[in-house]
Symmetry: C2
Subunit: 205 residues, 2 copies
Amino acid sequence: MAIESFNAEQHARENLDPRVRRSRQMLHEAMASLLRKKSFEDISIQDIAEESTLNRATFYSHYPDKHTLLQCMIGSRFQELMARREVKLGSCEGALKALALATCDFLLETSRATCGGKAQLEGSVQAAIVAVLRAMLNEGLAYRALNGTVSAEVVTSTVAWAIFGAANTWVQTPERCSAEHMSELIDRLLSSILHSAVAPASNLG
Amino acid sequence: MAIESFNAEQHARENLDPRVRRSRQMLHEAMASLLRKKSFEDISIQDIAEESTLNRATFYSHYPDKHTLLQCMIGSRFQELMARREVKLGSCEGALKALALATCDFLLETSRATCGGKAQLEGSVQAAIVAVLRAMLNEGLAYRALNGTVSAEVVTSTVAWAIFGAANTWVQTPERCSAEHMSELIDRLLSSILHSAVAPASNLG
DNA sequence: CGACAGATGTCGCTTAGTCAACAGAAAAGG
DNA sequence: CCTTTTCTGTTGACTAAGCGACATCTGTCG
């Protein structure tokens, strides 16, 4: 239920009843707001209903539980950040670095906006972030000629998790370097992996 | 239709369907937002519908026209300002001045948040503001012994319009004094009128 | 002048959200 | 331990909002 509902939420983002868009938006905001006050496991469905001013039954008509809500919230906010920065892999050079930078910024901001400070992210949340990264990487590769040595899915999955892993340990490092510097580092580490998937003629920054 | 619907909106503010509250809130915000971009007469119902992300039919189920919406918006925002400042005529001393100050601040802020800058207020809008003033003055007098020389309604109406008149010309004065000073002035001008309605023993600041 | 694009109210049908009530699963606590 | 309370999912009846369509009523242009 988790990933499917998240994807459904994202893909049909346009032609979607304004009411459900609003309700989900309100549930997202309620969750974000509550996370500033208490830890995730202390948040009840009732809390979410009250904070969002929506009825409890309405919550259940959108999400089966609070984990799924959190996952969808993270995914959609991460995606919004990407959209705001207009991060697109179409424009080769520096795209990978931009992706890494966005991930670093997002994780840092998320951990700051959370009650526990740097509370370890839920497993499902990690998956949500990686899902966005994978989708973007896949889209980036879609327009390129591939050499069939490895499946594109494997490559993008590898790179996506690698970005997440790097960024995640980075935010949890007490004395960390700048996000800018970190993303530069990630770019250098991973660009070769990405190149290994595309045909020699094609070029990916 | 105008005043009645406004009052209905205010009085039943608590036990009111959340959906209705939300929709009206969104319509208010849409109107306020549009007023920053264009003048009132250039705003169409469709504009309001689009800006609020509500359906055009939904607008008509709340307000008969944009004039009524504007009026309700002004009234409710003015009332909110009062509530925020906890202006209450129960606490005698300085209450009238606080009322005047709130009115000055509100009119100034409203004219600033309007496209035309200092565009003359609609007649219905003036009535909305005065209605709030009158209601507060009436409530303030309700707990006091009155000498029957003049009806309380006449007094509060007089004072309310006087406050509005003073504040309104004040905001339209290019080189005006501070709102603080102006409200002090209004207080001195009008407090005697208010006193004329209450019994000698009672005291109203 | 008519043609035409756009705004206005209004209507019927569909769907989302509200609300009260329910039974069952945890916690709390004496 | 058993009671009491709180949270949880779920249901069904009711109401608000969405949507498309329609007949107007503008204003504008050739």
